[in-house]
Amino acid sequence: MSNNNGFEPQITAFGCIYCGYMAADTAGTLGWEYPANVKYVKLPCTGKIDVRYILSAFEQGADGVYVVACPLGNCHHVKGNERGKKRVERAKKILDEIGIGGERLEIFFMSGGQGKTFAAAAETMVERIKKLGPSPVKRKV
């Protein structure tokens, strides 16, 4: 699979305690396997996702970051996911500008029952980051 000599990316996922966390739970309950590269950091709502959290993850060594949010229109806090989405878009621009690359960041929308979608998102990101290779922040070490 990997075209990067066994490179195992480190990926941080941020998500809310509602749909995102529940989707992760459902993936577990139904046994949808996904790569162990992903570690989930829970927030009360994706409206709490901060550009600094995303950048900090890259700064600490993440090769990829993504956000798991409730489906658009179904946010438990009305519009938190939409605001989160905007911040992810802003962070992508910054990542592009500083040469890390916005494609290392993504946002996925899913409901709590979509365990398979959660697993698929993890796979998508791991595959994508494997192709992109280690974060340039790391490569300069």
């Binding site: 480190q10 309950t29 396997e33 162990a36 950091v41 959290y53 700064e59 993440a62 179904n74 365990g115």
Partner: protein, 1535 residues
């Protein structure tokens, strides 16, 4: 709650104590019947308002139908996401006691004081011990259709209703005892081991047999298997080959090396002597040794095993099998003394034995007393067989042998003689061929081996050959024979039939008896005339104390399985005897019934394809030519393939087989197979019935093929197919071939609006639209065609949703009932025949046939027989369909005072209306029981909190194995070791189940012992378990926020199960992250704030007054603000508004006004408007201004908006221009006038529907009102021509009956579509009585395809209700939203239908959307109940996870004020912001919902969300990575 254990409470029915006072004090508890969303909502409202709640549910978990749904309309929210938090909340609420598996049997007493009798059905799993790990489910061999997935998938007999179920504990489904088990003398769990064979689990299967029978190898060969005779499979084709399967299991397991048997430690001083090492004696020896007794078995022969070893021939039962199974018993610690006949019983007692079991069997063969029995060559069966088996066979080579006897032993003798080389073997017996006691198959096999049979002979003498040797046996033919009950023979023979059967060897095989020489009469052990030891058949005690007898010696010869049964029983009696307890045991209570399948049920299961007729698999046998030469085993055993195929034929009659696999797998010992039903009582002040509906049984509408055609599914099944956690993981696959369904038809109104149902189920149109859209989202390109009569998109947002289905998703709608449906046998597709819309130009109908991959039947709602029965038991009136009748004007009250009803039990309705009903019913109960509010509510007491601020973190980590769920995939001890190395961690341990009661207590203990100030639990999901663990540290005096969970199950072991090393590494990472975060967490405190215990209700109409009155009855003062001079709102001026249902709403409203005016707690402010409101939940202050401009400020804790709506006044169809064109309400008023003078009534009226704004949203009331008014007119003038021009008739629920009545009365419905809107021409004259001909209506008739021109006397324009003009202004004052049309917008369409997102503000009545009066009342009560959840609290608790502003960083930029979805932040002029400017943002803790959006958005970073402070979140992110030397991004300019 009576009876916490599982003791029986047989005191049913309950008779009231005569001392009980006649008017008892009310009880502050409510029983809610039904655990669906309505029951859950009612329970939560009641519990929050200070009442104890018993939530009774018949199923094993709450959640009802909503939990089965994929999405909910019209927002397409995930149903599980929305209901799951409610389930968890109900599950852990201190004052809600969830009684699952429970039925209500009776309710006695009266409003305020009821006694409910409940049947608590056994769950077989201890709710207090089960942690829901699922280890049991993995080992359960019983598979059955999963009812939660509507039969589309399978589940096990031990199950959790669905993954998110509350309670999360498992349950076992039992139907009864399977007949095979019942028929077996030792109750072998045959169904269990058969299922385990099917699963290929042979060791487990052997374990199951050995639960009851220590001789599986023996019984697998020689048992007479009465289980097979009882087997229900015999009703289909042939019984399961149970014996052969048993043998197969043994073959598989015994082929492997015999595992070492560990001796059982001796724990008791008493010793027991057992005489006889046969199956009975050895079974008893095993049981007693396992009990800890010393056991010695005395055996006269040189081998153990009794008849099994020396009686049954080798070719049927190889010696090594007997030896092995005997050895398994001996190795438990039994002392076996071979070659040791007991000659004197007294010696045993002298030797020190405390009890003796005589189990010597029946080893003495009998001879007839006829001449010649002492001749050479005469033998008896037992000696013949024993000598052969012990390697010393008599030499009968070349002899002609005649066996006398027709039983199984005789067959053994004859066939042994064949194998010993006899020239010829014959067998003669008294019985006719048909009545021979031997098994038919054994007779056949004997004949195959050359044995010649002479049936129906009586033997008179044995002839002498002259040398003292046998020459033959003289016989006579038997005419009649019979043994009487005493065992005496009645015999009639044919005279003169004497003949001789020549032979030189005779072997008697006419029965065996016990040798009882060692118990002469002076031993005190009595014997019977039949030569057996006399025993009490229940206890097996002989006549001398301490002596017992069992097996053949006590009962006469029987089968081995009976000997085993007797051995068990004897051991039990001996144990009781040695313990000094009475030997007679009471009968076991409430055993499950034996399952007898009926022919009808079998046929049904065959038709459904669940049972496929298939004869039993035959076991191979050695061919006769070979077997006569050898003692090799005749039966050859099954191959694995044969055995599993045979096992798969089992019908699993009992459902659970009690194989005990779950019992052994359970790490918390939660399985209770012996649980029995209990009857309990609860005392409650009120009852709320919310038992819900069942979907129509679609197989009853045979024409649609459900149950016959696999690709016809119900809408509920389709819902499961759409669900990501459903049987197909959200892929819409056809049941027949699992292919994607690309073309789907929905047939509407299945079980609704038909000849058997005069009501509309109110939800099907919308769920069909939803399912269609979701299906298209799952698989774009799917074609969907919905066949319907009317699109009942009658509620808020529904019309838009329905349009979206058509316009955005391209769902095709055809208005018709399909005329037929058949299956295309070639591909399983379904051919739907229907009438195309519009017809042809010549006007004739056009029938079209269209083929679909899948057909969905949109099934309606019905009331189940069980619920109807419940209604009858409780004495509440139901209608013909089982729906609950309610009191007019009190839509949530049943006919029995104090019993309320909610949800579809009252009328078919959707989720939000059920939730409204539920809250409304709760309000009714709260008003009834207001004086005892809080009387039974519990409050948890905690020790004082320890102040840990300033202490360095001392973290304790508790890591869970979760049985095998985590421990099976992750090296838990290694993670624990690792945790100990982490900074700040001072303690770490792992637990088998961290959430079990003992582990929870242990956490509390360890926090104290280790002086921990932070705790991490690494286990499962915080969504369900965090509160439990937080509670455990709070109980140790630690603030509950000093806690963090690492989800190493759902996010690790379950999803990385293939790679132990990686999963373990990730678990370490997750623990490290949690430790890093918890070290930075700080205690958070809820502060108590004062609360104004009063309400402001805005609007004095039906809804406002109802809400105000309910709150006042609950004891809360109310300010009722009405802007006009009088109360009553829209209904005040109308009389007899709903004629069809005979509801005089005018009268009700007048009565209500009087009660509101009279109530001391209601302060009515007439001609008053709300000018301004400030404050937040619990502490509002509102400025009111009256007509004269005077202002007053009132304080209150909650607000209810009930401002109603107004009739639309616009220009359409000549409204306002011609006096003959009137609105609905004007027409109703005229009807009142005409009713006084019927002659003046018009003779022709046209109603025009969907007018003005109702072109965009459905007016909800208009269809029903037009039909009601049409009927009123028809009553006045039956010949009046009434035509209703409409797009759809939306008479949802029971309103359908108005539609039916109107059609029956001759009201004509003409449908128009948007392209052909009716035209009204009013001509020149506008005066009533002028030129009448000028009023005409033109409309395009789509069926006839021509324009109709109508010339009515009156045109009624069904003007809908519209939001009040000042609604937006009020919304601005209260900072609550309105939707695009101007209706007030609730917090959540489904589950918070009367709440606003802003806490403490509620909406009721037509301000929310047009409402019928009944609906407005329900909603008003619901708003009152929701308000009471706040007002019932003594103080307001604020704080926790809330946002805080650091004023010194705030620039007052208003970002937070603008973006907060709850309108909480405000600029506080008294706070000093950046640069010393006055006016910093302030966030009221009591109102903040903790989403953190403001904190993330704040440009100055002046806001922090407590518990999620930036440093706390970042600590976790940082801990994720181990590489320390990275290039910092510090140079990057973020903003």
């Amino acid at each position: 709650m009576a009876g916490d254990g599982y003791t029986q409470q047989p005191n049913y029915p309950i008779t009231p104590s005569p001392n009980r006072p006649t008017t008892p004090a009310p009880i502050g508890a409510v029983m809610v019947v039904g655990g669906g969303i309505a029951g859950i909502q009612a329970s939560l409202d009641l519990a929050e308002a200070g009442f104890k709640v018993y939530l009774v549910e018949t199923k094993s978990a709450i959640g009802g139908h909503m939990a089965q749904l994929d999405k909910t309309f019209p927002t397409n929210d995930c149903a599980m996401c929305t209901i799951s938090p409610k389930l968890v909340e109900a599950g852990r609420h201190l004052n809600i006691e969830i009684l699952v598996d429970t039925e209500v049997l009776d309710v006695k007493g009266q409003a305020g004081n009821f006694t409910a009798t409940l049947r608590r059905k056994p769950r077989y799993v201890d709710l207090t011990k089960c942690v829901g790990c699922g280890d049991c489910e993995k080992v359960c061999p019983i598979v059955l259709p999963d009812s939660f997935n509507e039969g589309l998938s399978k589940r096990r007999a031990i199950y959790r209703l669905y993954p998110q179920a509350i309670p999360s504990a498992y349950a076992i489904e039992k139907r009864g005892i399977s007949p095979c088990r019942d028929a077996c003398p030792v109750n072998t769990r045959a169904q269990g081991y058969i299922a385990l064979v099917r699963e290929g689990r042979y060791e487990d299967a052997l374990r199951v047999i050995k639960e009851e029978n220590p001789f599986p190898g023996i019984c697998g060969r020689i048992c007479n298997h009465r289980c097979e005779t009882a087997c229900n499979r015999g009703l289909v084709d042939e019984p399961i080959a149970i014996k052969d399967l048993k043998r197969f299991i043994v073959d598989q397991v015994y082929a492997k090396p015999r595992p070492r048997v560990e001796p059982v430690p001796r724990t008791r001083p008493e010793r027991v002597a057992i005489i006889g090492a046969g199956p009975c004696g050895l079974t008893a020896a095993m049981d007693l040794v396992k009990q800890g007794y010393g056991v010695t078995v005395f055996e006269a022969l040189p081998v153990a095993g009794g008849m099994l070893r020396v009686g049954v021939p080798e070719y049927r039962l190889p010696s090594w099998i007997v030896d092995r199974e005997v050895q398994d018993i001996i190795d438990l610690g039994v002392e076996l003394r071979l070659n040791t006949p007991v000659t004197n019983l007294d010696d045993l007692f002298k030797e020190g034995f405390n009890a003796v079991l005589i189990a010597v069997g029946a080893h003495e063969g009998k001879k007839l007393r006829i001449p010649g029995v002492d001749l050479d060559g005469v033998m008896v069966n037992t000696i013949f067989l024993r000598d052969t088996r012990l390697g010393n066979p008599p030499d009968i080579r070349g002899r002609t042998v005649l066996v006398l006897g027709g039983g199984n032993v005789a067959m053994d003798v004859a066939r042994t003689a064949v194998r010993l080389g006899a020239k010829k073997v014959k067998l003669a017996c008294l019985e006719t061929r048909e009545k021979m006691p031997a098994h038919p198959w054994e007779i056949e096999e004997a004949e195959e081996e050359g044995v010649e049979i002479f049936p129906a002979r009586s033997f008179t003498r044995i002839l002498d050959d002259g040398n003292g040797r046998v020459a033959g046996v003289e016989c006579v033919n038997v005419k009649f024979m019979e043994f009487d009950s005493e065992g005496r023979l009645n015999l009639e023979t044919f005279e003169g039939s004497e003949h001789v059967i020549p032979c030189d060897t005779v072997i008697f095989s006419i029965g065996q008896a016990a040798g009882l020489a060692f118990i002469p009469p002076d031993t005190g052990v009595g014997t019977t005339r039949r030569g057996t030891v006399a025993v009490n058949p229940n206890t097996l005690a002989a006549t001398r104390p301490g002596v017992f007898a069992a097996g053949d010696v006590a009962t006469g010869t029987a089968f081995v399985i009976e000997a085993v049964a007797a051995g068990h029983r004897a051991a039990e009696s001996i144990h009781l005897y040695l313990q000094g307890k009475p030997l007679e045991r009471p009968p076991r209570a409430l055993e499950l019934p034996v399952v007898k399948l009926t022919r009808a049920e079998i046929n049904q299961r065959i038709e459904k394809g669940e049972i496929k007729p298939q004869p039993r698999v035959k076991m191979a046998a050695l061919d006769p030519a070979t077997r006569v030469r050898t003692f090799e085993e005749v039966a050859r055993g099954y191959t694995e393939e044969e055995a599993r195929a045979e096992a798969a034929r089992c019908l699993a009659c009992g459902i659970c087989s009690e194989c005990l696999s779950c019992y052994y797998a359970c790490g918390t010992k939660a399985i209770l197979h012996d649980q029995v039903e209990r009857i309990e009582e609860v005392q409650v002040g009120a009852v709320i019935l919310a038992p819900g509906y069942e979907v129509y049984h679609a197989e009853l509408s045979e024409e649609f093929g459900f149950g016959r055609f696999p690709n016809v599914v119900t809408s509920l099944q389709f819902e499961r197919l759409l669900s990501a956690s459903g049987p197909t993981h959200g892929h819409v696959q056809r049941p027949s071939d699992n292919q994607p369904a690309k073309k789907i038809a929905f047939l509407q109104c299945i079980g609704s609006r038909d000849q058997k149902h005069d009501y509309c189920s109110a939800v099907c149109c919308m769920y069909a639209a939803k399912e269609a859209m979701i299906a298209k989202e799952h698989l774009p390109g799917t074609e969907i065609h919905i066949f319907m009569m009317d699109a009942r998109a009658f509620s808020k947002g529904y019309e838009e949703y329905y349009r979206r289905a058509q316009e955005r998703y391209g769902v095709k709608y055809t208005r018709c009932r399909v005329s037929s449906l058949k299956e295309n046998p070639a591909n399983g597709n379904l051919i739907v025949r229907y009438q195309a819309e519009g017809g042809k130009t010549n006007g004739s109908s056009t029938l079209v046939e269209e083929e679909f991959d899948l057909v969905v039947l949109s099934v309606g709602m019905e009331i189940s027989p069980q619920v109807r029965e419940l209604g009858a038991k409780l004495g509440v009136q139901l209608d013909d369909f089982g729906f609950c009748k309610t009191i007019p004007f009190r839509p949530l009250e049943t006919s029995r005072p104090g019993i309320f009803a909610a949800g579809p039990f009252v009328e078919p309705k959707d989720i939000p209306e059920s939730v409204v009903d539920a809250s409304g019913a709760a309000a009714s109960a709260e008003a009834l029981l207001a004086q005892v509010r809080g009387a039974l509510a519990r409050h948890k007491e905690y020790p004082p909190e320890r102040d840990v601020r300033g202490e360095p973190p001392r973290v304790g980590v508790f890591i869970c194995h979760c049985g095998s769920n985590i421990g099976g995939y992750i090296d838990v001890p290694a993670v624990t070791e690792y945790a100990r190395t982490l900074p700040n961690v001072v303690y770490a341990e792992n637990n088998l189940y961290t959430c079990s009661q003992d582990s929870i207590a242990r956490i509390t203990e360890k926090v104290k012992e280790q002086n921990l100030n932070r705790v991490v639990v690494a286990s499962c999901t915080p969504r369900t378990h965090e509160p439990l663990f937080q509670d455990s540290i709070r109980a140790a005096g630690l603030n509950p926020y000093l806690f963090e969970m690492a989800n190493i199950r759902n996010q690790c072991s379950w999803v990385h199960s293939h790679d132990r090393e990686t999963a373990t590494q990730k678990a370490k990472d997750l623990v490290r992250m949690s430790v890093a975060r918890v070290s930075r967490l700080e205690p958070l405190y809820k502060i108590e704030m004062p609360l104004e215990h009063s309400a402001l209700v805005i609007g004095g109409g039906l809804a406002g007054m109802t809400a105000a009155l309910n709150l006042a009855q609950q004891g809360f003062p109310v300010h009722l603000v009405e802007q006009s001079a009088r109360l009553g709102g829209g209904l005040a001026s109308l009389s007899a508004y709903y004629a069809h249902t005979d509801e005089d709403w005018g009268a009700h409203v007048r009565d209500l006004i009087a009660r509101v005016n009279a109530h001391p707690l209601i302060h009515v402010h007439r001609e008053t408007r709300l000018v301004e409101t400030s404050g937040f939940v619990g502490n509002f202050a509102s400025r009111l201004r009256n007509a004269s401009g005077q202002e007053q400020t009132v304080k209150h804790g909650v607000i209810i908006i009930a401002t109603g709506a107004q009739e639309w006044r616009g220009e359409a169809y000549g409204l306002g221009q011609d006096a003959r064109v009137v609105t609905q309400r004007e027409f109703a008023e005229r009807l009142t006038q005409w009713e006084a003078a019927p002659a003046t009534a018009p003779s022709s009226v046209v109603f025009i529907q969907c007018v003005g704004p109702a072109e965009k949203y459905c007016g909800r009331l208009c269809c029903t009102e037009s039909l009601e008014n049409a009927l009123r007119l028809k009553k006045l003038n039956p010949r009046a021509q009434v035509t209703i021009l409409t797009k759809d008739i939306r008479t949802y629920g029971f309103r359908e009956r108005v539609y039916n009545a109107a059609r029956a009365a001759g009201v004509v419905i003409v449908r128009y579509d948007e392209a052909h809107v009716p035209m009204v021409e009013t001509g020149q004259s506008s005066a009533v009585g002028g030129q009448r001909s000028t009023l005409s209506v033109r409309v395009w008739e789509p069926v006839l395809r021509e324009e109709l021109v109508l010339q009515p006397d009156v045109v009624v324009v069904a003007a809908p209700l519209t939001p009040r003009a000042d609604a937006r202004e009020l919304a601005g004052i209260l900072k609550v939203p309105v939707d695009m049309d101007g209706w007030f917008l609730e917090a959540h369409v489904k589950l918070r239908p009367v709440d606003f997102a802003t806490e403490g503000i509620f909406v009721a009545g037509a301000a929310h959307y047009p409402k019928f009066p009944r609906e407005a009342i329900a909603q008003a009560q619901a708003a009152a109940a929701r308000a009471a959840t706040i007002l019932a609290k003594e103080k307001l608790h604020a704080g926790g996870v809330v946002a805080q502003v650091d004023a010194s960083k705030c620039t007052g930029c208003l970002t937070c004020v603008r973006i907060c979805p709850y309108h909480v932040p405000r600029i506080d002029a008294t706070r000093v912001a950046v640069g010393g400017i006055y006016g910093a943002a302030y966030i009221e803790a009591a109102a903040c919902q903790g989403c953190g959006t403001c904190a993330a958005e704040c440009p100055a970073k002046a806001i922090q969300l407590l518990h999620y402070r930036d440093d706390q979140v970042l600590a976790k992110v940082q801990a994720l990575f181990t590489q320390p030397d990275l290039i910092p991004l510090a140079a990057v300019e973020v903003r």
